[in-house]
């Protein structure tokens, strides 16, 4: 009976997020426009400047557009995770987050359900992006499109958990601009999404080290290898560990007695 309750609640939370996503078409379009601009404009423009040598998982020389496609999938998941964080802050300001927290289910379960719901939306966006990229002649082996599903899910969960953690610290929606400057941009630019590690090492060893241990890099590499039907154990371990760390901290952050919520104060 209890299991049924959990199942229904999770289905309700995921279903609501998907319904909201379907009703907000502009959100879907804008989520796709960002990586597509990078693909069509940035990557095309830098194709000549940024030559890519042969390195795993690629077995031949590749175009720059091909190289950054997994990075752009990571970008979709990153922005989706932060969008979920934004929606949590908004929900809390508007009170609907309180409604969720009042239902008779453990808080960790509710947070995990929110995370799964947000990840489901992110994965849908990724596949839509891959569809357009296919038409643009960026084509991976067909089985790779099935291989990346677990990688996208784990990457999405890890970045979503980071978003959840941030949302437990952010009191007001206005503070979200800080997230852009201090979280999203550093994570994205100090990663292997746009340039391979060896190329970063050529210009700066410090940047190389940061990029190597950046959890976003690891998620991107997990996706990159999976897209070419390969398994990257190190990326899997790093991404999984980062997910557990972020999720654990987020659960503490939302704990009614220990978390940040207590320190923020209430109304009247």
């Amino acid at each position: 009976m209890r299991v049924l309750h959990y199942w229904r609640a999770m289905a309700g939370i995921v279903g609501r997020e998907l319904l909201r996503f379907l009703h907000q078409r502009e959100r879907f379009v804008s989520a796709l426009v960002r990586p597509l601009v990078w693909l069509f404009v940035f990557a095309a423009g830098f194709r000549a400047a940024l030559g890519i040598a042969i390195s795993p998982p690629y077995e031949t020389y590749i175009l720059y557009e091909v190289y950054i496609t997994p990075g752009l999938l990571g970008m979709i998941l990153l922005f989706n995770g932060m969008q979920s964080s934004l929606s949590m802050v908004y929900d809390r300001e508007m009170g609907s987050m309180r409604m969720l927290m009042v239902c008779p289910l453990p808080r960790w379960f509710l947070l995990c359900s929110k995370l799964i719901a947000g990840t489901a939306v992110g994965v849908l966006q990724c596949y839509a992006f891959l569809g357009i990229a296919w038409l643009y002649d960026i084509q991976a082996p067909l089985p790779g499109y099935a291989w990346i599903l677990p990688a996208l899910v784990l990457g999405g969960m890890m970045l979503g958990a980071l978003g959840l953690l941030l949302s437990s610290f952010i009191k007001q929606l206005e503070n979200f601009a800080g997230v852009m400057n201090f979280v999203i941009f550093p994570l994205f630019f100090m990663s292997t999404a746009l340039y391979p590690l060896w190329k970063i090492k050529e210009s700066s060893v410090i940047l190389y080290t940061l990029a190597q241990y950046n959890p976003f890099s690891q998620a991107v590499e997990l996706i990159r290898f999976a897209l070419y039907e390969q398994f990257n154990q190190q990326a899997l371990i790093f991404t999984g560990a980062a997910f557990l760390a972020f999720m654990g901290a987020a659960i503490v952050g939302y704990n009614p007695s220990k978390g940040m919520m207590v320190k923020k104060g209430g109304g009247g």
């Binding site: 609640a9 609501r16 907000q24 508007m94 309180r98 008779p104 453990p106 009614p256 104060g265």
Partner: protein, 246 residues
């Protein structure tokens, strides 16, 4: 089964050095509407946050239908329906979709949920509007939907945090009457936070909260007799003078 739906004992809470609640204690009984009266900043919202376990109190005890909110929180929360001060419905979803979402959170199956949704919406004369997006409803109708939602899972205690703020007089009256009918017909316990004196009915219980402390408590008639006041407005003035706007 106890007729005390909410038991609060020696409850204190502070935001850092600022004390928001100071040794608050009272009971809310089934079949009673208890009005929690207090000016802005009295501690009403903090009290509601503690009852709904948004925060945990370090001092004191809260029991919902005999279940300790800290140690048996899931059993306690299963008995609770809440209408918060701000609208918490999703404006992009229909009335039914919003209510089904809430039913799912309480573990109700689709068939049982649809049955209860119909019952509650019909009682509030909102069934015909079940397919409309919440965004299209006016403030009064949104409140009705929120009350229907709070009652879907048949709670024993209904918390209302200033539910009529911003509504016109007929909408306010309709909600006040509906809630009092629920108390009589379903033996529901209601804790209604407000600063609007005219929402208090003669048979209600009253708790006056000011600066985090309970200043008066009891049946309205008993409080009037004990304080020598002629109405709830005077009671409010007497205990909250200089402490906020009624």
């Amino acid at each position: 089964m106890t007729d005390i739906a909410l038991h609060i004992e020696n409850l204190s809470f502070a935001y850092g050095a600022t004390k928001a609640l100071d040794r608050v204690g009272f009971n809310v009984r089934c079949g009673e509407c208890t009005i929690l009266l207090g000016p802005n900043g009295a501690g009403k919202s903090t009290l509601f946050s503690l009852i709904t376990r948004l925060y945990d109190a370090r001092e004191g005890r809260i029991e919902l239908c005999g279940f300790d909110i800290k140690r048996q929180s899931l059993k306690a929360l299963a008995n609770l329906g809440v209408v918060f001060q701000q609208t918490t419905l999703d404006p992009d979803l229909s009335v039914t979709q919003n209510l089904r979402y809430h039913a799912a959170l309480h573990g109700m199956g689709r068939k049982a949920a649809d049955l209860r949704i119909r019952e509650e919406l019909e009682r509030l004369h909102m069934f015909e509007r079940r397919g409309e997006k919440v965004r299209q409803l006016n403030g009064g109708h949104k409140r009705r939907v929120e009350i229907a939602r709070a009652l879907l899972h048949n709670p024993r205690l209904l918390l209302l945090d200033e539910p009529t703020v911003g509504l016109d007089v007929p909408s306010r009256q309709a909600i006040v009457e509906h809630v009092h009918d629920l108390v009589k017909q379903q033996n529901l316990a209601v804790l209604w936070a407000t600063h609007l004196i005219d929402e208090i009915a003669g048979q209600d219980s009253l708790i006056v909260l000011h600066k985090g402390q309970v200043k008066a408590e009891g049946k309205l008639a008993d409080v009037l007799q004990a304080t020598g006041c002629s109405d709830a407005g005077q009671v409010f003035q007497k205990f909250t003078q200089g402490g906020g706007q009624p």
